[in-house]
């Protein structure tokens, strides 16, 4: 997600797909020959047409040659749905021809003649050959060798010669070539592929019930491409490639990396005086905070309060959520007396909502960082980190790296971030963080809980951790009122509060002492164990030791 890419050398031809250009350091090298291969339906034809129409809009002249039985009319019918398609560019700037018959009648030399003649005649700067498998098959069938092995070798030789001649024509004319080849499964080696300048592999594979589309740049001469596989989608806009977010991190060598994020060391308050006091004046600037709690404890409210306070101070904020629509959030704001709508209209709060289904992590990250950069966001609430987690379900080994990349980048962009994390247990002695990898990259943790107090339910708020800072460890009550959020004085230490009762038995203080409560993380999950009895059932997670808690209590007595 580097915003500025220096002009690439050698000169490039933009693919018309921003994410792919990013992977290719600006696009295809002009005058080179590339192959895009993949199974039927992978998106090769779409990608090629997108390249042609994008190029045509920028003054290129594209020649699209089919070697398929499918008619151009049929292809155009599908293309008309796509946003990049513009019939006015045909035939002057995008030109479709079929070379099937020439190839069938006279083989690869005839195809080459036809291509050379038409490239020069049309002054084409982009050439697509759709259906290279047909060329290979016809080349094979025309090979005169009787022996099957020799026939194959002969065919390969012809095909390599064809690629070589095509490269010569294109380097003379400056025409960039993309050959499209259908393969049911990726081929590890094809003799002719040693000749081409680059290979793109497109795949669409089922994962459960959903299709995952990926693009892999297997070879790219003269380009330091972003290696590995990247997600892509097919939308009405065309092919949209999302480079893997981990690869878009700024490297330590990046000059800007050495710069301190703006606001680091400052405090970012919520505008709830007693809570801000608990935090030592607010959250540390540019830090990441987890707001942990079960459903209905006010995580989202705390998030919108954080954004509203930022807006009041003129700091642009972004709500990036999965579960609550903007309209519902505006209503919530009204109940708290927060003028969210007014802030949104003033451009001080942006709401971005997406369904938590079938999302792709790189797409989410792309959307998030695009908005953060565009609006120069200073305060961010990611409401429901599980939405991001779900987008990583297919890649469990990416979880840690992805969250680390996201958090680092947000810090670099001087954004103070809140992640809300919903815990499974509404009541009970343990708090389990259901998202792996987040706790390791967040510097601050705030816990929200339901508690039972004199037969009524109250909300409890406690600060578990603040980066490199002193903070108030007192457990307090959080109240949601029409005048806003309020944090009360310390709860009566003699009260038996539901889940924390065992932690502070008859204690003189309701402090969440570091020595008696630990926020623990393990490879698979993180738990905050708030009682000794629960510790027995807390499995492998680190736990609060009951004797220790009692000891603390005794000492105070």
């Amino acid at each position: 997600m580097k915003p500025d890419v220096p002009p690439p050398y050698p000169p490039r031809l933009s693919t018309g797909v921003a994410g792919l250009d990013l992977i290719l350091e600006g696009g295809f090298v002009r005058g080179s020959v590339y192959i895009a291969e993949g199974p039927p339906g992978a998106g090769k034809t779409l990608l090629a047409n997108q390249l042609c129409f994008h190029g045509a809009r920028n003054g290129e002249r594209a020649l699209y040659v089919t070697l398929l039985a499918e008619t151009h009319e049929r292809m155009l019918t599908y293309l008309r749905r796509m946003a990049f398609f513009d019939e006015a560019l045909i035939p002057d700037h995008v030109y479709f021809i079929s070379a099937f018959r020439a190839l069938q009648q006279d083989g690869l030399p005839a195809l080459l003649r036809l291509l050379r003649e038409t490239i020069m005649q049309r002054q084409a700067t982009i050439l697509i050959i759709d259906g290279m498998v047909t060329a290979e098959e016809i080349s094979l069938s025309r090979s005169a060798s009787a022996n099957a092995l020799m026939q194959d070798a002969g065919s390969s030789q012809h095909f390599k010669q064809f690629i070589h001649d095509l490269q010569t024509i294109c380097s003379m004319t400056g025409c960039t070539v993309l050959l499209l080849s259908s393969t049911e499964r990726p081929r590890l080696f094809h003799p002719a592929y040693t000749m081409v300048d680059g290979i793109l592999e497109l795949t669409n594979e089922l994962s459960g019930l959903k299709t995952i589309r990926q693009i892999h740049v297997r070879k790219m001469r003269g380009v330091a491409q972003v290696v590995g596989k990247h997600h892509f989608e097919i939308r009405d806009a065309g092919v949209v490639v999302h480079p893997r977010m981990e690869t878009q991190l700024h490297s330590p060598e990046d000059s800007r990396e050495s710069e301190e994020p703006i606001g680091e060391g400052k405090r970012v308050p919520f505008g709830v005086s007693q809570f801000d006091a608990m935090l030592g004046g607010g959250l540390p600037g540019c830090s990441a905070t987890m707001i942990v709690g079960p459903t209905g404890t006010g995580k989202t409210l705390l998030g919108v309060q954080f954004l509203a306070e930022g807006a009041r101070r003129g700091e642009p904020g972004l709500y990036f959520g999965f579960f609550e629509r903007p309209s519902a959030l505006l209503r919530k704001g009204q109940r708290l007396g927060l003028p969210l709508e007014q802030y949104a209209e003033a451009g001080l709060i942006e709401f971005v909502w997406q369904r938590p289904i079938e999302a792709v992590i790189d797409e989410l990250a792309d959307r998030l960082f695009t908005t953060v950069r565009r609006l120069k966001i200073k305060r961010l609430v990611i409401d429901g980190i599980q939405g991001f987690q779900a987008a990583l379900d297919d890649y469990p080994d990416r979880v840690r790296g992805a969250f680390a990349a996201m958090t680092d980048e947000l810090e670099r962009l001087s954004v103070t971030t809140l992640y809300t994390v919903e815990t499974r247990e509404v009541f009970g002695p343990t708090v389990e963080i259901p998202v792996t990898g987040v706790s390791a990259v967040t510097q601050n943790i705030v816990l929200l809980r339901h508690v039972e107090l004199r037969s009524s339910l109250r909300l409890l708020i406690a600060v578990l951790k603040i980066r490199d800072s002193q903070f108030d460890r007192t457990v307090r009550e959080l109240r949601i009122t029409s005048q806003g959020l309020r944090v009360e004085d310390a709860m009566d230490p003699q009260e038996q509060v539901l889940s924390l009762s065992a932690l502070y038995p008859r204690s003189a203080s309701s402090t969440l002492a570091g020595k008696s409560a630990r926020f623990a993380s393990s490879a698979s999950s993180a738990r905050f164990a708030s009682s000794a009895s629960s510790a027995k059932s807390a499995g492998s997670a680190k736990r609060v030791a009951k004797p220790k808690a009692r000891k603390a209590g005794k000492r105070k007595r």
Binding site: L76, I90, I97, S98, A99, F100, L114, E117, T118, Q121
Partner: protein, 124 residues
């Protein structure tokens, strides 16, 4: 004598289907894969009617229309331009063809065009 129809289209599958339909109806249908081959064919044996695609390798439809205008033997041969694009894309050569038909078209539309411009075969 069968009316001679020249089908000029690089999409050979489509050209073959048109030719077969016309042959079944009693026409003498000939295929050329591009404008250059079509011009040579016409100069050798002028057809009664030409169905002409636009985008083709070597020589495209509009260029062939220009050549036909230059040749007195070919200038009066009726041409129907066929394309999957809208007719507005070819405004610059509108005076050089009789009619436009958008691909895909039905066999009935084809019969109608051929009968109007090449006449009805005696056997039909």
């Amino acid at each position: 004598m069968k009316p001679r129809v020249l089908i000029v289209d690089d999409e050979f599958g489509l050209a073959e289907v048109i030719a077969e339909i016309l042959c079944e109806r009693g026409y003498d249908a000939v295929i050329a894969m591009n404008g250059k081959l079509a011009l040579a064919e016409m100069q050798q044996t002028p057809p009664q009617f030409v169905m002409l695609d636009v985008m083709m390798p070597v020589m495209d439809g509009p260029t062939l229309l220009g050549h036909m205008q230059q040749d007195p033997r070919l200038a009066s041969i009726p041409v129907v331009l066929m394309s999957s694009l809208a007719e507005s894309s070819f405004a610059s050569v509108r005076a050089l063809y009789r009619e436009f038909v958008r691909k895909p078209f039905t066999p009935e539309a084809l019969y109608d065009l051929v009968e109007r411009y090449a006449g009805r075969p005696e056997s039909a």
